[in-house]
Symmetry: C2
């Protein structure tokens, strides 16, 4: 009887998880929109267009004034954002909303110049302004096509997509009626804004699990430095401990390994969701806790560090780690991913996007891997022949002087290392900060889950209420 | 005794007028600012810059928080706007303001590519967005240089400059705290906005002086058509009547003459100031009244029409009129002026700026000289190899959906034919329409003059009050 009761509970749990899984699998339709290659110079590519990919779902739409929920596609194939943004799909029926996710130019399959897109001078048309113009023109056309010129448009976005959602309201309030900018580090775009918060916050996330994790990570990095100082014999010892496919032969490859490790911690902290996810890599639920457990249970500090890094990289299930394939050093010290999308993001990090400084081993537990405007200038000149304009983003995207804007929610999770670059207190009645207690990187945008912390349930309710308010105002 | 009293009054009047004259001659300093050739593509011209000319006056500036009064330079050498915008200079001392007038790229001496600027592909970087970015970067730098990061910036502009002043507040509210957009036809930028008001208003201005002017102008154009239909003999008669330097040989040259005449009426109506001015040509005070007088006093209707056109073109004081030198047909049916500035304006009229439709002889007194999106497309393709994007301006510059903006004054004079393209009623508490009764094209921006109608004195007072309010708010 006890056994069968247990079986019953197990069965119910399985069915429930299956239902959640099904619910999380939101079907879409897809199409392509011909958008201008260059919105800002009629003499460069004239009226030449490229095919911008977009996903949409109209099954819940109320054509008599139902709103359009628009997700501002960011740095990756749009399908990934569709899947990771279940919140929008879940609330669409309640609002009778048309849901549309256009893909950001130069990502996924939305390549203005096909395979040539990532070469100069073609890469030069990868800018925030062009992407926003793509969306503005696309949405204007969509409204006409749907005969929905009176429908309101609410923008959604997470991370850089959240910045875009806010920027769209800043720059195109004629098109966007309100924005939910989730985990969007807007203030970081000001050169005088916060840049030193990131690795400090990653460190804190691990300390909050167990102070010993922090001590052991620091110790392990010190031991690695000692080994590296011994020359090849020490580097080989490190290679063995970390199960690296390739031999470490010099300081450069050693520093690459350090970046590879730091990146794993970055990802565990950013994606510290309470359930397993496949967004930006396969991670278990509560990866920070899992990672910290690996550190605590290591046969030695190096082994613990290696096992913790493996929490992120083991998705490949390979016997050894190819750190050069799995991690690319780039203009973003928090990582650029891999593949063509990584090039596009690297270029954006070299041009209009301002990103966190590196780690310093003082306010964080990581090795000294600095990233300064000076290092960035050298790297971007070497890589693309261009020099970043440090002051531009704050001029063009309002920096920290956003008080004249309206109808934007800024949500930030307290587990998210990006939080410190964002807006965490109300600026006005219509520029509202929504904290997501217990949330990592834009958890609020994800589909609901039985393992959700109460903080995200509350945040989503508030967000829904504010959106309802925007839609009901004249 | 009576005579000497009269002499005294005459003397005082002369001194007063001299003082007004002196006061109107506002001295400036000048300099150049290195601004990026292309703000929106780091791979096109990299960090290459050109010298943007600007005028400034700091003698009244209160460096302890005094504001910056910025005039958004428009389609011409900046000196002309400095001279024609005495209002700003007159109120600067009352506000302790720093006054700065940067020149619009591709006009005056602010040529990104020197003499090559007006050829493709170089002309392609003449856009509203680039010009606005020039101003945004320049003003940010200026504030730093002046150590005035807390100073507020008020934008001023007339006509297209007024559009720019409003757009700067729309798009860069982090930099611009409030704008006076004088005689700025913003709603005309929406393809669904007003486009048919212009020649109707020019016509009305003449009818308001004397209905007979309207009748005689219509009659004269009919007589011309009759003559032109007679072939060369009729065209020669027209040439003689209009004192043209060159023979009219075909329909094209005849139609050019019609455009030349209509342009004179446009200018008299736009610049219908109560005193002689040298802005965009030398005109007497009340040129519409003067022009109408010529029409009424003509020895015949053609002679009257010719004499009226001469009110505008007689500035050359030549014995015959060279209609091909004095008037250029272009993408703006209200005229592009002459010289390199005319090419730049023509290109803007072919790209981002939406202008009035032509005349139709039904709602106006002019010949049928149509200007439609279709004609524009043909002309711009032929002239520059480009096709205008009709919908772009309304997307990029908010069209008629500007209600979320704030702190903008829209002023319009009821004599000004551009009025119908502008914003003539309050949109909100902070988007305010200020009528200028008795005013032509941005009369309110001009220096005060003893001949000013009470309406403009009142408008300027209101504008000053609102600006003061913006500056005193936190």
């Amino acid at each position: 009887m006890v056994a069968s009761h247990k079986n019953m509970i197990f069965l119910l749990k399985a069915v429930f998880l299956l239902l959640v899984q099904c619910k999380a699998d939101f079907p879409y339709k897809e199409d392509y929109f011909d958008t201008y290659i260059d919105h800002f110079n009629l003499m460069s590519y004239g009226n030449k267009t490229f095919k911008m990919h977009y996903l949409y779902q109209d099954q819940n739409w109320n054509p008599n004034g139902g709103p359009i929920f628009f997700y501002a596609g960011n740095e990756g194939p749009i399908e990934g954002f569709w899947t990771a943004t279940g919140f929008v799909h879940e609330i669409a029926p309640q609002f009778g909303a048309y849901v549309v996710f256009p893909e950001h130019r130069y990502y996924g399959t939305s390549l203005p110049f096909g395979n040539f897109s990532f070469q100069p001078p073609y890469l030069g048309l990868l800018t925030v302004e062009q992407a926003m113009a793509d969306y503005a023109v696309f949405l204007t056309d969509l409204k006409k096509r749907l005969n929905a010129t009176n429908s309101k448009i609410i923008a959604f976005g997470g991370s850089y997509g959240g910045m875009l959602a806010a920027y769209m309201r800043f720059k195109y309030p004629n098109i966007i009626d309100g924005s939910l900018a989730a985990s969007a580090p807007l203030y970081m775009q000001d050169p005088d804004g916060p840049h030193d918060f990131f690795f400090q916050h990653v460190t804190q996330d691990f300390r909050d699990i167990n102070e010993k994790c922090y001590d052991l990570v620091k110790l392990a990095f010190n031991l690695m430095d000692d080994l590296a100082a011994q020359g090849q014999i020490g580097l080989d010892r490190i290679q063995a401990e970390f199960k690296l496919c390739n031999r470490l032969t010099d300081d450069q490859s050693y520093r690459h390994l350090l970046g590879w490790i730091r990146n794993a911690f970055t990802m565990m902290a950013m994606l510290d969701y309470p359930y397993p996810t496949g967004f930006m890599g396969n991670l278990p639920g509560f990866p920070v806790k899992v990672g910290c457990g690996k550190i605590l249970n290591g046969t030695n500090p190096l082994n613990g560090l290696a096992e913790a890094a493996g929490v992120f990289y083991n998705s490949s299930n390979e016997k050894c780690f190819d750190i050069f394939a799995e991690f690319i050093e780039c203009a973003d010290p928090t990582g650029c991913g891999t593949g063509p999308d990584a090039i596009a993001w690297d270029y954006q990090a070299c041009t209009e996007l301002s990103l966190p400084r590196g780690s310093n081993n003082i306010t964080d537990m990581f090795p000294v891997l600095p990233w300064t405007p000076e290092l960035r200038a050298v790297y971007c000149q070497k890589t693309y022949g261009i020099t970043p304009r440090e002051e531009w983003a704050a001029i063009q995207f309002l920096g920290q002087k956003i008080q004249s804007a309206s109808n934007i929610i800024f949500s930030n999770g307290n587990l998210d290392p990006w939080m410190g670059g964002g807006i965490n207190k109300d600026i006005s009645n219509s520029l509202v900060a929504v904290p997501v207690i217990g949330g990592a990187h834009h958890l609020d945008l994800r589909a609901s889950n039985p393992l959700d912390p109460p903080g995200v349930i509350e945040a989503r309710e508030r967000e829904k209420g504010i959106i309802r308010q925007w839609l009901s105002s004249p």
